[in-house]
Point group: C2
Chain length 338, copies 2
Amino acid sequence: MKGSQVTIKDIARELGISASTVSRALKDHPDISVETKRMVNDLAKKLRYKPNAVALSLKSSRTNTIGVIIPEIVHYFFSSVISGVEDVAYDAGYNVMIFQSNEKYEREVTNAQALLANRTEGVMVSVSKETHNFEHLHMLEDSNIPLVFFDRIATGFTSDKVVIDDHKAAYTATQHLIKTGCKRIAHLAAPQNLAIGEKRLEGYKDALRDGGLPYKEEYVYPADSVELAENAIEYLMHLPEPPDGLFANNDLTAIGAMKALQRREYRIPEDVSVMGFSAGRFSDFTTPKLSSVDQHGYEMGAEATRILLERIANPDYSYGETKVIDTNLVIRESTRTL
Amino acid sequence: MKGSQVTIKDIARELGISASTVSRALKDHPDISVETKRMVNDLAKKLRYKPNAVALSLKSSRTNTIGVIIPEIVHYFFSSVISGVEDVAYDAGYNVMIFQSNEKYEREVTNAQALLANRTEGVMVSVSKETHNFEHLHMLEDSNIPLVFFDRIATGFTSDKVVIDDHKAAYTATQHLIKTGCKRIAHLAAPQNLAIGEKRLEGYKDALRDGGLPYKEEYVYPADSVELAENAIEYLMHLPEPPDGLFANNDLTAIGAMKALQRREYRIPEDVSVMGFSAGRFSDFTTPKLSSVDQHGYEMGAEATRILLERIANPDYSYGETKVIDTNLVIRESTRTL
DNA sequence: AACGTCATCGCAATCGTTTGCGTTAAGAAA
DNA sequence: TTTCTTAACGCAAACGATTGCGATGACGTT
């Protein structure tokens, strides 16, 4: 019915009292008579008065809002993260603003600016694949906005980070392939400008070394999507010594590889073992079911948010904590047993 | 380095001029001399001045923010919707606030209140399964906040709606089962308090009738998750005349049903055809690949946002448009051919 | 009667920005 | 010299809410 929104002034006018009295009455200030309080509260309820959060933000410079910059929402892992973020924020009375970079650098910059303009109290970032320049994020840091990186972190920041132990996870995954009899293990790698790409590659290498297998450069092929997996398989299986094990840097790539292998009549895992990374919902639905590394996205989002809220509440605390979320191997059917 | 944020006053003080002059200089007002403009702009750049969106919102009562209430983000369909929302909003310079109800009524109410308090300019809602009372949404409507329902719409509103033609989609899906030789088609139904549940059931019924098959109540079983699908199959396959075709109200249920059937050694689609609904990313990864109805989530989110922004820009327009997003049958391998 | 006490309330500033209007001084026109 | 114009800027109110401080009046106290 009403035009826009009911304000304290509307209540004051209607009751013939001042705005300050209304304000105090609404928050049960002792200076106000019970009679007045009753009147104010009744009218407020009747008019459905809701305090204007924008005005409160301006006055208190607290927006009760945190922001998230994420590469793409339409990924099981990232949407789990968001879910964790949203749940923790909700419990703390915070609102969440989502920005997706769509893996584009320029959009990430614009997002950072929007976050700044909106005076978000803290920001959580997982950087896009295209991002090599981090000025826009330093800008946030310079403005004293607590920053927490998760998963795809940037180097050169004193901010907090929430990650998995990519090296260890990759190591364990590769090790499992070795243990179950693979002799020639290839790696479908993530972009190397991302720390996760580097770390996972290192973990893979170290596991090979410790397992007594030689590291061969031709077994590492850059691929991080269903489509690129096709190229990777085409290349790898035409090698003089084609691999008998595959460690992919994410599940979609692993699935793409499985499809490509099956199309070429290879049996999984008899001819080639396949190990994914991320344990998305659908890794349970493939045939064979995909063995993978569970990244615990929800937990990562929840933990990152907890840390962020802690920083917001405690700005002068020492920065730079790095929280490592546990991962665990989920062995299903795409890898051999024993 | 700096404390909090740079304001117009900081610039004014440093330059020994008034705040109004700074404001005008920044927006290239003709009343300001080129000399002053230069000084102001230089200092603003140096100090990295960013206008305080909160103050602007208070003044203009335009927050440039829209809100979304969604059951759960961790669903391919819903995250696609969000992706569409975010993209369109981004292009229009709007920010998106995400709230997930986690399918809980009470949380949906809290979300609506937060949306109101934050003066979101418009809200898009897909109601939770638990929601039967719509007062909280009427509250938004009463406050003149444009509302757009998508997918899971509520009845009794004059707001815009963006839906798929659930009846037609269910009809076509069921019809395809009939055409490919199924004689006893069961339906794993969504909750009937949701319009989508009702409509899909109706479409199923009508397709049976038009296809010359009898409608039997025992062939309709409520199930909308992987877990409940197990119960459904257990029940259905012990019927005197077990079904030879299955139409599930969503993909996860369909996949659960496939797993349950395969565990009982039924062949798909030879013994039982299975048709899903939603065409999530993983319907491509199952064995056999799941036939399904593509709901075009991204398009739905994008279109809903376009309509919402249109309403925001044009508040006195006539309300109540219902936009129907096209669906299409994606025939893969879980249904028979011919 | 004069003063102090206390309950109850209003004034005005504030957050950061915008904007209508008034002000100032310099130069032009008379 | 006087008046008018105009360029260039400042004042102050406004958005909605909060809050320190002051104001008012009804009491009770000496």
